[in-house]
């Protein structure tokens, strides 16, 4: 028993200001993902949102619950006892959110305890007039993971932090008083990225990936696809080169998705699906990076029969 990836879909901000909000992007990606996989929303047992930059920096409730309502997944009032409902919550692990959530969803889905889980990632500048240098593309993504009775799926996860580099990427919402008046001012979203951040991500990502491959006795040359974070923009390509994985096995995302934050790995996966590389891949290596400094990696083996794959 294991898991398979049903579909991976991204969404991009529209022309209107309200079309670029993180919730709009998350809802659009979630709906498109279900549509592409040809599954209705009420088949979801789990919905996990991993975006960091939400509209108005909303802290409560979990954005996943709002997405669940918006896509009409088992709204549940009253709950239909005898049927299954949907459980939604948020995970935050910066650029590694998708891999962390995949590990959680896999823990419920792989043994059939739940049948289907969806990971939704979306980030957009929460308040453009009070943000300093927001570096990420406004983009959303959704990844649908389902139970399969065959062997296959996520074989191993490894998420590690490198606290000595914790200061290389930091974002915070800081109260900025007007002229020393404590209760007059504004909240400002500040982002700091050290010049060495990209290089450190590549170095740490290489280390964790090599150890993961060694632990699973998987030669780097046998990796058919490297699905990686899209921020920093050089991460995926440079990581592939450091690991000895050919460039054509590292999917290229569309230019407008090149600086995608939490949805970055979903964008790469979508590109691999569109090019039909994923359908024939046997071993897929996921490597993500983010603040902390955190590296999340996973080895995915596709189930023997992939004809059901809704690419």
């Amino acid at each position: 028993m294991g898991t398979f990836i049903d579909a991976a879909v991204t969404s991009l901000g529209g022309g209107h200001v309200f079309g670029r909000g993180a919730l709009h992007l998350a809802d659009a990606a979630a709906r498109a993902c279900l549509e592409r996989a040809r599954h209705p929303a009420d088949e979801l047992d789990l919905l996990v949102h991993v975006g960091v930059y939400k509209d108005f920096e909303i802290a409560e409730p979990a954005l996943a619950s709002i997405i669940q309502e918006d896509i009409d997944a088992n709204l549940g009032s009253p709950p239909r006892l005898g049927h299954h409902g949907t459980f939604s919550f948020d995970v935050s692990n910066g650029g590694c959110g998708v891999i962390t959530a995949a590990q959680l969803v896999d823990s419920f889905v792989a043994d059939g305890g739940a049948r289907r889980g969806m990971i939704v990632a979306a980030d957009a500048d929460p308040s453009p007039h009070t943000t300093q240098d927001f570096p990420f593309a406004p983009a959303g993504g959704a990844l649908l993971i389902s139970h399969v009775d065959d062997e296959g799926g996520f074989e191993r996860f490894d998420t590690r932090t490198f606290p000595e580099h914790a200061g290389q990427f930091e974002t915070q919402l800081r109260w900025e008083p007007h002229a020393g008046r404590t209760h007059r001012g504004r909240n400002v979203l500040e982002l700091f990225e050290a010049p060495a951040f990209a290089a450190t991500c590549i170095e740490a990502g290489t280390l964790v990936a090599r150890e993961l491959l060694a632990a699973t006795e998987t030669p780097a040359g046998s990796i058919d696809l490297l699905i990686a974070s899209q921020y920093p923009p050089t991460f995926a390509r440079e990581l592939g080169r450091a690991l000895g994985i050919a460039d054509d096995r590292v999917p290229r995302v569309a230019p407008e998705l090149a600086r995608t934050h939490t949805a970055g790995p979903i964008a790469a996966l979508e590109a691999a699906i569109a090019s039909h590389r994923f359908a024939v891949a046997r071993r897929v290596l996921f490597v993500t990076c983010g603040a902390g400094l955190t590296i999340g990696a996973a080895l995915f083996r596709t189930p023997p029969a992939t004809s059901f794959f809704a690419g």
Partner: protein, 366 residues
């Protein structure tokens, strides 16, 4: 695993796919020294109101952070307290989950990245642990326990910690500026208190009962009934809550869900020795227990209420209450304890565990 047709996503007892049992190994807490009574809080309101907050909610006082006390410092203090009561050190932990709603790292700075869990992990020396933050409003810590329970039952990890620090009384301070009547959408913000809590969940030795049931669901039709976000023109945050509607939904939908999940695990409410519900107000807790008992035809033996002295401490309430009752030696070995979350989302979560000697030893600091 409970049958797939359960409305709640749930685990119950052991089966072939999940050969291990998880148990709560230790519980920690941290509280700011400063105490503010409901009367003092209402005295700070900008507008004259006739609201008797203590009479309305049963909350006598709240703990409130002083300068330098933050979500992160409360979380770290609770994690350290938890480890001090544990047989383990930080290096023994396989997973650290931070479930704080508030993410203050100083008096007015809310951190997005890196995750707070990375800082907690470093502070307690949990060098091997996988770490991440989990957000599920006031149900966050219990959701973390559900996650750890799953990983431990499958054998993926041996033990992990869920931790949270809530510097959340700033919402009450902001609410006090605008509240004019009990119909204000910010009224619930006046019930909040600051606190940290932590819990270690581990694989139970063979033959121990540990966590016998864990289940969660999201009644998302009500996802927007309570929304918390940074204030636009003041430091800190604001929360807008349709408390009456949340209470109505919880009263209508909670009991059938709890009855269903208990039945699927072969349990009855009357077997529960201690019900620890999310701590919002004394009146809401007692009304909820009364309706639950009426609908299920039996009551838990004891109802745990600590909101009167701490206020609603958001994601930490269940484990702060558990910590307090462990400190007071209220439990006996074999007692069945039900932790019940009802939170924004609208989240309904249940964890039932059997108290064993190790947990009761909580008072002994190792």
């Amino acid at each position: 695993m409970v049958a797939a047709t359960s409305w709640m996503l749930a685990d119950a007892m052991r089966d072939a796919r999940t050969p291990f049992v998880a148990r709560i190994e230790s519980v920690g807490a941290s509280l700011p020294e400063r105490r503010v009574t409901s009367q003092e809080l209402m005295a700070s309101a900008r507008h004259h109101t006739r609201i008797d907050l203590e009479r309305l909610t049963g909350i006598r006082e709240h703990r409130m952070c002083g300068s330098g006390e933050t979500s992160l410092s409360l979380a770290i203090a609770a994690a350290r307290d938890c480890l001090a009561r544990s047989r383990y050190s930080g290096t023994d932990l396989d997973m650290v989950i931070d479930a704080s709603i508030t993410r203050y790292v100083d008096d007015s700075t809310h951190r997005f990245e890196p995750p707070l869990s990375a800082s907690v992990k470093q502070a307690i020396g949990a060098n091997r642990a996988t770490s991440f933050d989990l957000g599920n409003a006031c149900a966050g810590m219990l959701t973390g326990v559900l996650v750890l329970n799953r990983f431990i039952r499958r054998g993926a990890i041996r033990r992990g910690m869920v931790v949270s620090g809530e510097r959340i009384t700033g919402l009450g301070t902001n609410a006090a500026r605008s509240i004019r009547s009990i119909f204000s959408l910010q009224l619930a913000s006046l019930t909040l208190g600051d606190a940290g809590a932590a819990v270690i969940v581990e694989r139970a030795p063979e033959g121990h009962d540990g966590i016998v049931l864990a289940g969660f669901t999201t009644l998302a039709e009500h996802s927007r009934l309570c929304v918390g976000l940074p204030a636009r023109h003041h430091p800190g945050a604001q929360m807008f809550t349709r408390a009456r509607k949340i209470h109505e939904v919880a009263m209508a939908d909670g009991p059938p869900l709890i009855a269903d999940i208990l039945a699927r695990a072969g349990m009855q409410l009357g077997e529960i020795d201690w019900l620890i519900p999310h701590q919002t107000s004394v009146r809401a807790i007692r009304a909820g227990e009364r309706v639950l008992g009426e609908q299920l035809g039996e009551h838990p033996k004891h109802l745990v209420v600590t909101v009167d002295e701490y206020g609603n401490t958001a994601s930490t309430t269940l484990f702060l209450a558990l910590h307090r009752y462990l400190d007071d030696h209220r439990f006996h070995a074999g007692d069945k304890v039900m932790l019940l979350s009802v939170a924004s989302g609208l989240e309904v979560g249940v964890v039932v565990f059997v108290m064993d000697e190790l947990e009761i030893d909580h008072g002994h600091v190792h």
